[in-house]
């Protein structure tokens, strides 16, 4: 649920306008955090953005919504918070142009996806510092990132219900919402959500296990960059190739 496909016109304007403003501010902060990034870093984050888009092409329908594998967690670990948020915004923008999610919801979508990605690296580093293997740390970071995004997603839905005047006053609509939020539907959605988080975490596990064997220098290290022998999470200099 880390990616909203809610189209234009269904969320109240207060919500999506606030989302656009917040996303823009977050983008400025992200750009500030990654200032000094050269073309090499931009090319690397664009390649990971391309992989995110490609992976999102495999949707798993869940009632009215779609669960898409996003790789937000692993991308967040590999790139760090600032760059991962930028990638999330770019991916969301391209998806909106392709009719996957509305133009007006770009801000909310980027926030939900990007916030999840941004939480991944700190969780990963903590797990590595606690002597977990990179694969296990990546799985934990991916799970936390997915759960966090899902919570934000629920907050967006809750806020949209609260801010829609029609929904607040009409008895029949309230009944409809009560039915949808009722035990069985909620239970099914919760189980599907957990399954989706588990699948994405296992995918992250496999990804990190592979990278730790083949290119451990691409994974971030808990050792400070200055003294780290390898693995600062930054792409190595072109001269090393």
């Amino acid at each position: 649920m880390s990616h909203l496909h809610i189209p234009d016109g269904v969320l109240p304007p207060q919500l999506w306008i606030a989302g656009l403003v917040l996303a823009f501010l977050a983008l400025l902060a992200a750009v500030h955090a990654t200032r000094g990034a050269g073309p090499q870093q931009i090319a690397y984050q664009s390649a990971l953005g391309g992989i995110m888009l490609a992976v999102m092409a495999i949707p798993i329908p869940i009632t009215a919504f779609d669960y898409c594998m996003t790789l937000a967690g692993p991308v967040g670990v590999l790139l760090g918070a600032g760059a991962a948020f930028q990638v999330s915004l770019v991916v969301t923008l391209i998806l909106a142009l392709m009719g996957q999610g509305g133009f007006t919801v770009i801000g909310l979508n980027a926030l939900v996806l990007g916030a999840g990605a941004a939480t991944a690296r700190p969780v990963y580093l903590r797990a590595v510092a606690a002597r977990r293997s990179p694969a296990a740390a990546m799985a934990i970071a991916t799970a936390v990132s997915q759960v966090f995004s899902s919570l934000l997603w629920v907050v967006v839905l809750w806020a949209s219900v609260r801010l829609t005047p029609g929904l607040a006053v009409q008895q029949q609509v309230r009944e409809g919402l009560r039915f949808l939020a009722g035990g069985s539907v909620a239970a099914i959605v919760a189980v599907l959500m957990l399954a989706a988080v588990a699948i994405e975490s296992m995918l992250g596990f496999g990804l990190a296990r592979f990278l730790s064997r083949v290119r451990p220098d691409l994974l971030p290290s808990s050792v400070p960059a200055a003294s780290a022998p390898s693995g600062t999470g930054r792409p190595p200099e072109a001269g090393r190739f």
Binding site: D8, M202, G206
Partner: protein, 241 residues
Amino acid sequence: MLNTFAQIDYLACSGRTRWHRASALGKLVLAMLLVLLAVFMPQWRVLAALLVTVIALVLSAGLPWRLLGAAMTTPLFFAGLFLLAHWGAGAASIATLAMRPVIASVTALWLVGTTPYPDLFAPISRMLPRVVGDSLFLTYRAVFALLSRIERLSRAMFLRGALTGPLPQRANRMGEAVGTVVLSGFDRSQRLYQAMLLRGHSGRICGCRHYLEFTREDGWVLVLGVWSIAVTVVFAGWGAR
């Protein structure tokens, strides 16, 4: 979804209608106008008139019926929960809620189906920070190469039986497969970086300036803009009487 990406990209580049010849900036402004009218207009009559207008736009741009059908049904699927929540709120309310995302989605189809991506991204990238604007171009460029790699990889995995067995094992293998794509993306980003340096990258991918080349066909875009506003005013007034 990514086959659709490729199809739309081809249609945008190969089309010869008046909409394809109009400037990207004009079309972008018209698309934004149509989306904002759809999102903010509460009368179903206005939305019905706008829906007919955007369908006519898509058909006159020579875009396939199949894409039009997808653009009209996909947002309804994603807006399903919201439509269900409004089920008891009356036919006009449901029609309004259903038409808004459809208008926005069909408008997006018209925009991306008649505008090659460098022209479309060039004005958008100018509104974004440099890093993000560059990422927009490079991410879109990376998608197609990475997608074909993912497709080849998943076919090979299927043929070698890697997609059978318990779910955790399959997800783990998928993760390793994604790892190889990440490595390929990383290598690709290195090549891209070197190509950028060789071609004298000046610190910004500017895109082309075609988007600013106004042609005679922009007159039609202007006519459509005036028509959309007139239709909105007339039908909104009619609904108010």
